[in-house]
């Protein structure tokens, strides 16, 4: 396109659209491969391809457009039966679909086509050449390209007489015969609106503020009622109650709008599993369950990558080759179950395979080799296998170059923790492995433990809190220059939050509380002055310049009295810079920016 700029907004619309169409393409190919030729499936993919072609052309992505155009031709011939469905054909079409997706993503990132589809197009051309020409269409089509006038010229075809209505009374557009049908479509389409996610974020922020002020209003109302009494103050309080109830509903509704079915993540996995299984000569059936389970879009956006990693893991190391399976008395086809379900205010995602399981002995050897475990340490197998999530832990039995690409399951753990989630593994050698991921329904609201440090309040995400306890200064032991606390039979390192955040130590030093955080089998105790109870808090993002692991801050929230409370990033306390953390040095000052 030469006479306009492709705006980011336009690119976004294109990309979002294209992704949906490409999902449709994958889905159609998978269905055709599984169930054989179905004219309805073929017909169903023509529309999306056509739109993708048109849109790509508008964006000036001619390589993509040309490829999709060829693809349309292939599907036309498939529908006519002149191109026969075969395994090699599917392999080529799937490879082409991947290349196409790649080209689209890259073109949108680079604002221009970078990935050539030349080679892939040649493959389609070859498929088309092998197929006999479709039955000659009408003569109109044959002469069409020649008969078409140039756009600026008036049409060659004489316009139909505009002033000659048909002899019979023309049916009204709202004729009863068609009205039932149209009403159906009318209601179906007018119930959907596309909204930019950032607007929903903004809306949620506004609602959060509304709730804060509502709380304040309520407190003022009550004070007033106590001081003045009388009819008016009762009325005022009841009005405030109404506002409270409406704003709570408003918050719930906005939260609900942010939720998307997890299908958006799951739908790419059938293709992934198919491709990986083919590569490795395995036979795998992927069963999806609970795709309708809804979860915050912000989580949807983040959970894809860890799930890909874990599913690859199941394909690579869980499911055995058909020969091995048969030898073990299993069916030659392996099964991976990917399911999602809601449980109170969490979503549980389960990835279960009926493969070889994790070899606990191998995990133990590796763990001892890495210094994660003492050679003579006794540990239950169930706890032992959790060590596969430890940093730098990677055995051939758990992570391959294929699934890992050099990263282990520790990265998966980190991604899930960033979402305030938990992950656990259960395995039975020879029978299978089950990963269970627990995620919050939303990232926008979390349960937090409010703690006080030197007269300041901080919020600690409750999901990471193992326990909190009171201790005396005399209970603290210094080991290797580090304060620790003995809790039952564990030595738990302590982090003094006042020193950590560079605050003046509180006057009263006789008693302290330790909030013990857990991550896998690791524990860290945060030393605070007071516990103020738990509460649901609305998370507001902080500027990246002052948030994240480096600052140990995950965000902020605003309390009912209008005070801003910082939310701790729990991961920061496990990052291994313990000395620095304990002394609060080498950290940029919060107030001064970076």
């Amino acid at each position: 396109m030469s006479d306009f700029q492709i705006s980011p907004e336009l690119l976004n619309i294109y990309l979002e659209d294209a992704r949906a169409h490409l999902e449709g393409l994958d889905h159609a190919l998978l269905t055709l491969e599984r169930e054989g030729l179905d004219p309805e499936v073929v017909a169903g993919i023509m529309g999306p391809l056509h739109t993708l072609k048109g849109n790509s052309g508008m964006m000036g992505f001619t390589g993509i457009k040309d490829y999709v155009h060829r693809l349309e031709d292939v599907f036309v011939r498939v529908g006519q039966g002149t191109v026969t469905l075969s395994r090699p054909l599917f392999d080529r079409l799937f490879a082409g679909a991947s290349a196409l997706r790649d080209a689209v993503e890259q073109a949108c990132r680079q604002r221009g086509e970078v990935r050539s589809l030349e080679g892939e197009r040649t493959v389609l051309d070859a498929i088309l050449r092998q197929a006999p020409e479709p039955a000659a269409p009408s003569t109109v089509a044959a002469v069409a390209p020649l008969a078409l006038p140039t756009p600026a010229a008036p049409p060659v075809a004489p316009p139909a007489p505009l002033s000659a209505p048909p002899a019979d009374a023309s049916p009204s557009l709202a004729a009863p015969a068609s009205s039932a049908v149209s009403a159906e479509y009318v209601s179906a389409r007018s119930s959907m609106v596309r909204v930019d996610f950032s607007q929903l974020d903004h809306l949620l922020n506004l609602v959060g503020e509304l709730i804060i002020h509502r709380t304040k209003l309520h407190e003022l109302g009550r004070e007033l009622a106590e001081q003045m009494g009388g009819h008016e103050s009762v009325e005022l309080l009841s009005a405030v109650q109404q506002v409270a109830s409406v704003s709570t509903q408003l918050q719930e509704t906005v939260m609900d709008i942010r939720m998307l079915p997890i299908r958006h993540v799951f739908e790419r996995f059938p293709r992934l599993v198919r491709d990986l299984a083919r590569q490795q000569g395995k036979d795998i059936e992927l069963i999806l369950e609970g795709e309708g389970t809804r979860i915050d879009k912000a989580i949807i956006d983040e959970i894809g990558e860890p799930l890909v990693h874990m599913i690859r893991n199941s394909v690579d190391h869980g499911i055995e080759t058909p020969a091995v399976r048969v030898a073990r008395g299993k069916t030659p086809t392996g099964t991976i179950l990917l399911s999602a379900m809601q449980e109170s205010n969490h979503v549980l995602i389960t990835i279960m395979d009926d493969g070889s399981g994790i070899d606990a002995a191998a995990v133990r050897r590796k763990a001892v080799g890495r210094g994660l475990l003492k050679a003579d340490e006794t540990i239950a197998d169930r706890e032992l296998v959790q060590l596969i999530f430890s940093q730098g832990f990677s055995t051939a039995e758990t992570v391959s170059e294929l699934s890992g690409r050099g990263v282990g399951l520790d990265v998966v753990l980190k991604s899930i923790e960033r979402l305030n989630g938990l992950v656990e593994v259960e395995t039975v050698p020879g029978v299978g492995t089950k990963f269970i991921i627990q995620l919050p329904l939303t990232l926008a609201i979390i349960s937090a433990l409010l703690v006080e440090v030197s007269d300041r309040t901080y919020a600690v995400p409750l999901g990471s809190v193992v326990e909190s306890l009171k201790f005396r200064s005399t209970d603290v032991h210094t080991i290797n220059g580090r304060d620790t606390l003995r809790i039952r039979d564990r030595i738990v390192p302590l982090v003094r939050l006042d020193a950590f955040f560079g605050l003046r130590a509180a006057a009263d030093q006789t008693a302290h509380y330790a909030v013990v955080l857990g991550r896998g089998d690791k524990r860290v105790g945060l030393v605070v002055n007071r516990l103020r109870g738990q509460q649901e808090v609305v998370i507001k993002a902080l500027d990246p310049a002052v948030s994240g692991t480096a600052f140990a801050l995950a965000g902020a929230t605003i309390m009912g009295d209008g005070r801003v409370v910082l939310i701790l990033d729990v991961a920061a306390f496990f990052e291994g810079r313990r000395q620095a953390l304990a002394h609060g040095r080498s950290r940029p000052a919060l107030a001064g920016g970076s």
């Binding site: 006479d3 048109g54 075809a157 209505p165």
Partner: protein, 125 residues
């Protein structure tokens, strides 16, 4: 002067393009419909539509079906229609022109192409 243009296309991207391309016609209202049926609805709701930009390949009701319905309705017959055609669908474009469309632009089109045709057709009609 153009007051109202009805754009019918199932692609959100194309609608965004129209918004961009047609912004030069100040005071002209752009009305969007995602398919033929929706376009008929919009025609019934909005009076005085001066021009229709019509995609052919759309779900629910395609452009040719829409043209057919349009031709049966005396109130709408006079509204000029520009077909926005796609590569490989030339026969549909020809059918559309035979059914009374005034002209066509081929996707991908440039703003200047569209402007040229719109001005030609609306000045003439």
């Amino acid at each position: 002067m153009l007051r109202k243009i009805l754009a019918v296309d199932d692609s959100a991207l194309i609608h965004q393009m129209y918004k961009l391309f047609l912004s030069r016609y100040k005071n002209c209202k752009l009305i969007s419909a995602m398919n033929g049926l929706e376009a008929l609805d919009k025609l019934a709701q909005e009076e005085g539509i001066d021009l229709i930009l019509l995609d052919i390949n759309m779900p629910v009701m395609n452009g040719l079906e829409f043209l057919q319905r349009l031709q049966k309705e005396s109130a709408y017959q006079a509204i000029p229609v520009i077909i926005i055609s796609t590569e490989g669908k030339e026969e549909d474009t020809i059918r559309g022109l035979k059914m009374g469309a005034k002209g066509y632009v081929k996707k991908p089109f440039q703003a200047s192409e569209l402007h040229g045709l719109i001005e030609k057709i609306t000045a003439a009609g």
